[in-house]
Symmetry: C2
Subunit: 449 residues, 2 copies
Amino acid sequence: MSRKEEYIKLFIDKLPKRLEKGKLEKIISTLDEFHPADIAEVLRQTSTDSAISIIRLLGEDVRADVVAELEPEERETILKELPATEIAESVLKEMDSDDAADLISELPEDKKTSVIEAIEDTEQVQDILDLLTYDENTAGSLMAKELIKVKENWTVKQCEYELRKQAQEVEDVHTVYVVDNLDKLVGVLSLKALIINDENVEIKAISNKDIISIKATDESKEASRLMDKYDLVVLPVINESRQLVGRITIDDVVDVIVEEAEKDYQMLSGISEDVESSDNVWQLTRARFPWLLVGMLGGIFGAMVIGFFENGVNPALMAFIPLIVAMGGNVGIQSSALVVQGLANQTLSGSITSKLFKELGVGIVNGILCAFLLLLVNILIGHETLSYSFAISASLLSVIVFAAVFGTWIPLFFHRLRIDPALATGPFITTANDIFGLILYFYICKLLI
Amino acid sequence: MSRKEEYIKLFIDKLPKRLEKGKLEKIISTLDEFHPADIAEVLRQTSTDSAISIIRLLGEDVRADVVAELEPEERETILKELPATEIAESVLKEMDSDDAADLISELPEDKKTSVIEAIEDTEQVQDILDLLTYDENTAGSLMAKELIKVKENWTVKQCEYELRKQAQEVEDVHTVYVVDNLDKLVGVLSLKALIINDENVEIKAISNKDIISIKATDESKEASRLMDKYDLVVLPVINESRQLVGRITIDDVVDVIVEEAEKDYQMLSGISEDVESSDNVWQLTRARFPWLLVGMLGGIFGAMVIGFFENGVNPALMAFIPLIVAMGGNVGIQSSALVVQGLANQTLSGSITSKLFKELGVGIVNGILCAFLLLLVNILIGHETLSYSFAISASLLSVIVFAAVFGTWIPLFFHRLRIDPALATGPFITTANDIFGLILYFYICKLLI
């Protein structure tokens, strides 16, 4: 934690007392020195009423940034208390188009319309309506409309003049975009190039024509892939006619990367909704119960499998059921997780068949190691006869090999069907492997003994 | 995939034939239009010999960028074939200090020294040696030394002059750093501010003094937290005396975020080393066997538990063993994964006790739901008596509640001991829960029947 953050923590600790005493003006004068992200942190720790009072006293541009920094649920609670005109005039006015569109898309349907109608700036309304047309997982949904655009036949001097004019509106300028007369993106220009070149040089001569761009209708994942691959801080967004329509900044893409990783992680752990451990018991239960149900059904089916074989086999075999199902589950999870990760970071190469053969190899090596160890243990300290020990190890080997191949195949199969392969990890694989594992175990033991 | 990338894919497909015909010059003239990340992609698809021939024919600055874009293992294979002087003079010369330090740290010990000795630029040697002193997980290990530094009492004009002078060396300039006479960081200045302000304005008057910076010895995770929280593209790094020593760019931090997420994901799936599904069978086995061994030992212990209870209880209870252990495992994984994710993205709040109580709540709700369902199934279609059905459901409830609390407590406990809490997820939790679940199951059934 930085020294500033420690100071903020102290400030938050003292806040309830100060609020009680009604020292709002004093609070605001301190908050004025804070970064919007820190003011959002402060609001998080106060009641909705106090948060609204504080927001109303903030400067206009800070206010927009602070509201943009809040988490969607926090924002929802606060905006519920504000009338549509106040949202339009004092929150949205200074807000970047992407944040404004996000804010509006979070509002309930009826309030959406009244807020949009209350915005005075027709250009802003146009930008917001445009951004709202893009689906959630497209590059368009990540972009902002604010950018500095110059014509290719301008000079550096004209360009600097334009920058001065537009600078108020566009906060973080990293790159200037060069367009032709039809507004088509023809080049990019770093601010550095503007500074180090003579003011009479034509833009065309110094702009970089090797542009990496994305279509607004492309997937948002593609935006993060491109920005990661080419180490970009900002990515221009074009429409079907190659006209410049917006830009995506790296902070939004980082959010996409983190969300994707968290979603895959939760899938693997058997959580079906996006929850945090700070959510309430009901939210947590709802996110966790669906997969537990799958596990339950698998378990009931497993009980039927055991019931079916029970009479024919030696009861001593029952003792190894947990080992067999656990190993099948572990191997299956390992295999499917590797595939899902490979698909996510695009390091998977080669055909499905070659991957299955490799997993067959890994399964056989791990299977033989485990089966041999179990055989040793059973012979040395177990009470089973030699033929039982052999049969148990042989089935362990087959369960492991099966789980490795099955765990690899399922996410690849899902991917081919355009179902999220992460769905194939976690409880799905373990439950399926439990059942197949039990059947294999009893069947092989019956065969061998 | 962009149109350019499709073209590159086509180029790669035709490459073997062209290489066979020895058309190196023609290949190079095409590569000249490619981005270094794409040239690295091309090299990935060729033999080491061809890759070296191509690298030698590239322009000096492109060559450095291409080598920096390669994966560590690919770089290792290529650098093994190059003499120390060639690495120093034709690869490192134009390379950014952070990439150069990374490259050198990957070399075998003896080659490290000879490469450093072969570097002619003493300043570069100094920068590299400085960067090599920082531990792998510190902010210092992420930083580059290249930055634009100006004095606070300079004017905009002097600043632009300095930028022109240094521009060759520093490729991506986002921010200019303002220092005092003791080289202490006192402000930051955007390039936009340089362009929109008059050339006689003093830097002091237009620089932003509210600096967010990090100490070189701080953790690299802290750098990614700060850049994420404050939406920074570049973060200045200072030493203990607040002197400016380097800068961290967002692309390096994105790599840290992705690596952390991948590590946690692999831990959860029971993979102990950083592997990709494209690694060979032996690497994959080595990364996967350790946790399978843990599962094996747990299974053997479980077999002993069952053996211990076996004689006293009804064999019908055996059929529900897979269900009991699977549910304990699933709930435990869900709980521990939520804690690990909360610790990773720092959304965990409140005391350990409050978190355990909440998990107790989630466990009880999920447990009652599952136990009731199982009771229904057993009464409606099962062959067990009512008292058996009750006993099985009661133990399922206790196993779920226990797994929820245990799964929450273990990663929190690890975290307090400064052990990576991610270690507590995956096979560790499932194996521990298997054993405790079995004991609870048999014990409760014995008590109730």
